[in-house]
């Protein structure tokens, strides 16, 4: 009996300690200087989208440090408040409420995942808070509202480019294998729509859940339809690389097409030699853009790795665009002024030159490129394992 009471007392003491700790920390965190411009950041730093979320947060933090080192905006510092949206709608809503209600921000950079964006967007639209993403690519975000912007190109754009590349490479019968996530599904659907519009035929379609590791039965089925080419729409690099490897092991010799994920470092490592010659339609930085090269080398120096170059650049540019608009409005609480500034702005930065936003808050003036994966000996950290063949052909 006494032991029971001792335990209960211990639990109470533990609860008290934790609560005091959290309470104390909360008050420290809330006491940031009122001098600086406060901007919210919502990225999926944990969860299924963590590769994207972490790169985005790091690129943004780097841009902010550069701006602050150069004297800030109108003499005031820029401060980021980072929250985790965990790649799902529920956590996006709580993160959004924390940022707007507790920290009082009116401008939020993010999110990484489209599902999180679509969960929080109705709230932002209602409250008049600007949400500005560098990574979310779901086509539905175009209609999410007046306060919703993005520098990331919609999957619809990617799909149209992919469909055109397939057609101009004389592919007529296509097989597709797709990870069942919003991103990968978007890529598959829009690619196939454009491909079929041009006159192509889809002879096989397979989908898999993110945690699958063996695709042999699905691939055997697809190869049995004798397609001219295989299109892979994956969300995780692990599955993307494994599919390439297993497709070649099963004797498929035709061209393989993919997007960002199949040219990622992890995917190339898994696929090894099998990946040689695989083509991808991706958003990548222009090697001729000196600004982009500078950002990449700075990022490499600071974090000692580089991945998802284009998204890194997109997240980086978002901060500079934000800084430019804050310079004009000189008020981080003026979401309407900030929104109007975004509609008017034309920007040249890391991801492209002279790009702007249309009436839906969608970026215009950017393009995808076609790349081809190099044989393993030629792959290096500088070329990321592929060479850029050029911009995707138009219709």
């Amino acid at each position: 009996m006494t032991i029971g009471y001792f335990r209960q007392a211990f639990v109470i003491a533990l609860v008290v300690l934790v609560s005091i700790a959290v309470l104390a920390c909360g008050s420290i965190g809330g006491g940031a200087s009122s001098e600086s411009f406060k901007i919210g950041v919502m990225e999926s730093v944990t969860g299924p989208g963590e590769t994207y979320g972490n790169v985005a947060v790091q690129a943004k933090q780097m841009a902010v440090d550069e701006i602050n080192a150069a004297g800030g905006i109108n003499g005031r510092m820029l401060e980021l408040i980072v929250e985790d949206e965990k790649c799902n709608a529920q956590d996006a809503i709580t993160a959004y409420r924390k940022l707007t209600d507790v920290d009082g921000v009116k401008i939020i950079l993010g999110t990484s995942c489209s599902g999180a964006m679509l969960g929080a967007a109705p709230l932002a639209e209602e409250d008049g808070v600007v949400m500005f993403s560098g990574l979310a690519t779901n086509p539905d975000i175009a209609n999410a509202g007046d306060y919703i912007f993005r520098t990331s190109m919609s999957d619809a754009q990617r799909g149209i480019d992919t469909g055109n590349v397939l057609w101009s490479d004389s592919i007529r019968n296509l097989a597709t294998i797709t990870e069942a996530t919003d991103y990968a599904e978007g890529v598959r659907r829009t690619s196939v729509e454009q491909f079929e519009k041009r006159g192509g035929k889809v002879v096989g379609t397979e989908r898999y859940a993110s945690d699958v590791t063996d695709f042999r039965s699905q691939l055997t089925k697809l190869i049995g339809e004798s397609p001219d080419a295989l299109h892979i729409a994956a969300q995780s690099e692990f599955t993307g690389g494994t599919i390439i490897k297993q497709a070649r092991e099963l004797g498929f010799n035709g061209p393989i097409y993919g997007e960002d994920v199949v040219v990622g470092a992890t995917a190339l490592e898994i696929a090894g030699d099998a990946a040689t010659g695989v083509k991808a339609i991706i958003a990548d930085l222009d090697p001729a853009n000196s600004k982009a090269q500078e950002v990449l080398s700075n990022f490499m120096e600071r974090y000692d790795y580089i991945t998802l170059r284009w998204y890194l650049g997109s997240a980086y540019d978002d901060v500079y665009i934000t800084a430019e608009c804050l310079k004009q409005t000189d008020d981080d609480q003026d979401a309407d002024g900030f929104r109007d500034c975004l509609y008017d702005i034309t920007w040249s930065g890391t991801i492209g030159s002279n790009y702007s936003f249309d009436g839906n808050g969608e970026v215009v003036g950017l393009a995808n490129v076609v790349v081809e994966i190099l044989p393993p000996p030629d792959r290096s950290e500088d070329n990321l394992g592929y060479k850029v063949l050029g911009p995707a052909p138009s219709e």
Binding site: I12, L14, Q61, D140
Partner: protein, 351 residues
């Protein structure tokens, strides 16, 4: 009616004057601990920001509803199920499909069957559909016990997720469903977050009352007996399988109800809210709160949501590693709680 009121009257029998009430409560450290945690939570959240507190409160209410429903099965009946998130998802998708805005869905590229039902017409369907599915799978599940039961319920969670992901004409797959209806009473829509929180809390109170009536009734005592020794209770002439099936269906219906509320609250759902991991999280909430205690499930949900959301206020520098650092701290706290309190915050039994 007498059956419902009897346990309430019985429990109040011993307390006739305020002094009796005080005497009954004085030695109850658990109760004071609970009151302290809840009081602290409310103060903390309101102090940080009322809007955020309301959002966190709604998350808590939905998880509490799920935890109470799961506790009926895991705590009181001793059937460890990790498939409960499937029923939550069935409820959420019923609500989403039945009540999403057809005009909005016409804009989307993937066609979806829409019905445009009002919230209160869709909610009973969420409950009933979950119940029907639970009845169907429960008949099969009843053939299993103990460890095997965990495995088949695991399978159910996987199947449910894949159905949400791949039944594209019904669920729009990975794209998710937008513009799910909010509750509407007459011409008055519960649009505000606070109104919705009060609405969910009211439903939570009803759910807790139902759960309490179940566990204090003779039906509840048979469930406890099944947990202790299923063979022994069958010797006394009780059909254990029927009792297990009944509580399974009731529990699933509550989860479906929570799912319907969840879909209406977020107004956007995709299959990734209903992954197996969430189900494991739910089991941890039940264990954290304490098995076979309804009050404990409420407390477990509150402790968990507070720990998780409270992490947002821990300052970690640099900001680049904030997400991972929070996960580590949350994990350590949960491990410590299980180490020193394996029976949960207010529970009496270990798993």
């Amino acid at each position: 009616m007498r059956i419902i009121l009897k346990p309430i009257v019985n429990s109040l029998n011993f307390i006739r004057t305020p002094r009796d009430l005080w005497r009954a409560w004085r030695g109850n450290i658990q109760l004071w601990a609970n009151l302290f945690v809840i009081g602290w939570a409310v103060v903390f959240m309101l102090w940080q920001g009322a809007g955020f507190a309301v959002t966190v409160g709604t998350v808590f209410a939905i998880w509490a509803m799920l935890a109470v429903s799961l506790n009926l099965v895991v705590g009181f009946t001793g059937l460890l199920s990790v498939g409960h998130i499937g029923f939550f998802g069935i409820g959420a998708y019923s609500m989403a499909v039945l009540s999403s805005n057809p005009e909005y869905e016409q804009l989307r590229t993937e066609a979806l069957t829409t019905f445009a039902w009002p919230f209160f017409a869709a909610l009973p369907v969420c409950v009933l559909l979950s119940g029907v599915v639970a009845l169907a799978v429960g008949v099969v599940f009843n053939r299993f016990r103990d460890d095997i039961y965990v495995l088949v319920s695991f399978g159910f969670a996987i199947i449910a997720f894949n159905v949400f992901l791949n039944a594209r004409s019904l669920t729009r797959g990975a794209f998710g469903i937008h513009e799910i209806a909010r509750p509407q009473i007459g011409g008055w829509t519960l649009n505000g977050e606070l109104q919705f929180l009060l609405f969910v809390l009211a439903i939570l109170a009803v759910v807790m009352l139902i759960a309490w009536i179940i566990v204090t009734s003779s039906f509840g005592r048979v469930l406890t007996a099944i947990r202790e020794d299923e063979d022994a209770i069958e010797v006394f002439g009780y059909q254990a399988t029927q009792y297990k099936l009944a509580i399974w269906v009731i529990s699933a219906m509550i989860a479906g109800l929570a799912g319907g509320l969840f879909a209406s609250w977020t107004s956007f759902i995709d299959p990734f809210s209903f992954i197996l991991l969430e189900s494991i999280l739910l089991v941890s909430i039940v264990i954290l709160g304490g098995l076979a205690t309804i009050w404990g499930s409420l407390l477990g949900a509150m402790a968990f949501v507070l720990l998780e959301e409270g992490m947002r206020f821990l300052p970690f520098l640099p900001a680049e590693y904030i997400g991972q650092a929070r996960q580590v701290v949350l994990g350590i706290l949960l491990v410590l709680l299980m180490l020193f309190r394996p029976q949960g915050l207010v529970g009496k039994y270990k798993l």
